[in-house]
Symmetry: C2
Subunit: 424 residues, 2 copies
């Protein structure tokens, strides 16, 4: 245990030292390093696949289900996909060094802000080994060092991938120590990692809601809490029928296991008789289970083709991550807004309406990372929003909100150019 703690301190120090060099690394060297990573992934030999097979074997022996084993699996096609993602990151503009808010003051002093890396990013995550490469690439491109702590179930795959990344960046002349991987799987070490505020400037947890909450409550450095979305779509009195159906269907069915999927459908009482049966029918074809309040139940009536149940209090404010949705009929936009304020997680919220003023009111009132008019909440995503890639989706209000791309992994410093200026 002491050895493991010492290892973590040593890695923290190494990352801090590397971060200073990283802050000054040219965009050319960074992009060469990223292309090296991509090539190494494409040409990866048996070492990566056999390391992965050890994790797969352990998972099978532990009786893991097919979904878990599938998340763990690496094969040549997946490595090629990871390589393509790294090349995409290389192709993004370098955020470091960008100047903004530059102005020359009346006294001739030239004042501006210049973007700089945050320093050292910590990442604690579960299962999928591609996160090791994804987060390394995003932190590296934004000039940060990173300390990675993956789940024990993928320890051999993650170790092999981290070594591949470290070798690839060193080959490009970048500091190998900019990417640190904690090789011990001792769970108590997470607590130690969360206390290392002298070495880690920002902690990014990736995993389930309980895990993210645990990190948020225990980390001594700033944490990006996010990835938990209790998302509502409100079908307003003046909603277009076809749009209602298309948006509700897409938000719930397109990819139900992710944080920007619909959890609760709110329907205005005047729109419900018109829209709700049509939405329910489409959802039923996709196998969606509906947990309905009494008014929604009575509108839908007894039907063998629908999978409908009465909702309980727990169904409001629940992130289902499955083909399940709660459904409530409301009498006004205000009631919908109150429901969203009470039960939403501040992630993504949508209104479907043809009424201009009510659309604007929804945009103004809803306090969430992303607010949509006549569009599916599924669009909350760094790639979709034009950030190129994302390291997380923040539901914090401080620093960055919503999808976090490269720029959101930076800070800035004020630069001031004078010619002997003094203040009087």
């Amino acid at each position: 245990m002491t050895t493991a703690t010492d290892e973590m301190t040593a890695k923290g120090q190494a990352a801090r030292t590397a971060s200073r060099e990283m802050a000054r690394l040219s965009g050319d060297v960074k992009n060469r390093a990223l292309r090296n990573i991509a090539e190494a992934l494409e040409g990866a030999g048996d070492d990566i696949l056999s390391a992965n097979e050890r994790d797969m074997q352990a998972g099978r022996e532990a009786g893991q289900g097919d979904a878990t084993l599938d998340r763990l699996l690496l094969n040549p096609a997946r490595l090629t996909g990871m390589a393509a993602d790294v090349r995409s990151v290389a192709a993004l503009p370098d955020p470091v060094g960008e100047s903004f808010d530059v102005r020359t003051l009346a006294n001739g002093l030239q004042v501006g802000r210049r973007r700089v890396p945050l320093g050292v990013i910590g990442a604690v995550y579960e299962s999928r080994p591609n996160i090791t490469v994804d987060i390394s690439a995003l932190c590296f491109k934004s000039g940060n060092a990173v300390i990675l702590r993956g789940g024990s179930e993928a320890i051999h795959s993650n170790t092999a991938l981290a070594n591949l990344v470290r070798d690839a960046i060193a080959d490009a002349g970048a500091p190998r120590d900019a990417v640190q991987f904690i090789s011990s799987t001792d769970r108590s070490l997470v607590q130690r990692l969360l206390s290392m505020k002298e070495y880690i400037d920002l902690m990014i947890p990736r995993g389930g809601a309980d895990f993210v909450r645990f990190v948020g409550e225990n980390a001594q450095m700033p944490v990006i809490t996010g990835g938990v979305g209790v998302c509502h779509t409100y079908v307003d009195r003046d909603a277009d029928l076809d749009r209602s159906v298309a948006i509700a269907y897409n938000a719930k069915v397109d990819r139900p296991t992710v944080c920007n999927a619909l959890d609760t459908l709110l329907v205005h009482s005047e729109a419900a008789p018109r829209c709700l049966p049509a939405i329910a029918q489409e959802w039923a074809r996709a196998g969606v289970e509906m947990r309905c309040d009494m008014r929604a139940l009575s509108i839908l009536g007894p039907s063998e083709s629908l999978n409908v149940k009465p909702a309980t209090e727990e169904d409001w404010g629940t992130e289902f991550l499955a083909l399940t949705a709660s459904v409530k009929v409301v009498d006004s936009l205000e009631e919908a807004l109150e429901h969203i304020e009470r039960y939403g997680s501040g992630h993504s919220e949508a209104i479907v309406t043809e009424d201009y003023s009510r659309a604007m009111q929804f945009l103004d009132y809803v306090d969430a990372a992303a607010v949509f008019v006549n569009a599916s909440t599924r669009f909350t995503d760094g790639g979709q929003f034009g950030l190129g890639a994302e390291v997380a989706i923040s539901t914090n209000k401080m620093h960055a909100r919503g999808p976090m791309g490269l720029r959101e992994l930076t800070s800035y410093k004020w630069t001031v150019l004078g010619n002997g200026h003094v203040r009087s």
Copy 2:
């Protein structure tokens, strides 16, 4: 104690509720409220001054020194000065509602970020009662509610000023509860305030270094730590003599009690024989005590006109807040950079040089909120940097760095306008 805790919870809830209304308040109403505050300050009668006299009387009885009593004092001229500051805040552009990074995606979806208030700001501060008005005005203009906790030594003045502010904003039709003042002076309540993360989104401590550190280590919500500046000015080998003297003099003497004042002068060994005696002479006229390393001592020699002492290890990395400076001779830019990295607090650092490449190198390498070439560190200030006003100077890297104006008291939400868009 229970009553005081209940009071704090009630004020937290009231601030949270008011913050929702604040987020949607028009710029016109906010500016009218700010003008009301200014008028009330200008027309303030005996209630404010007699409340202040009670604090002054208590201060005199407690044997406070002249400097402390002067910080505490209110008089008509100071109230007029506070009113002018509030009018300046009213005149600043409203940051709330500003849209940025707006783009239309290839699929026609209109995506952008819109600035919104953070929510509820907590402010814990010591002595000067004008902070009650300053911070209220800045939080109010940026659409936030605020919970104020001033020092016990100014409790009567602060209470009277907070009431004046609350009445003035209510008269303008803004929520009175947007400004909350903790009236109990029980010191243990600070701990409770720092735990109220459900009601307070950001905590801003204003006071000495130990106080700011205490808040940073104990607050459960994000904290702006700042206001502590161990600032270096490095006189390079190729420094201009006159500029060196003017900048070192201004940085140390203009206002020695503030965080952007010079603490340590570093001088290149080739520039020291030329520049150091001249700087020392000017400093001596202003009464500056110099704590010098051995090489600086030997260059300055024994002199009755200078106030020179040998430096001890403690003099590096100390914020003097007085007419005292430590002085060290270095052999290279690199040695200066290492010294700054080791002892600086990441606030404001300056180089004086005529060499272009070394100026650029200093800008690149120094990791601080503000980095200066050929200018005094005294310029680190929201007003000087064109932000109009500042609520604090952050030495954090997350969220905001350096002077924090109105924009730095905001977050944003993503707004997405579609016409039935679904993700495929």
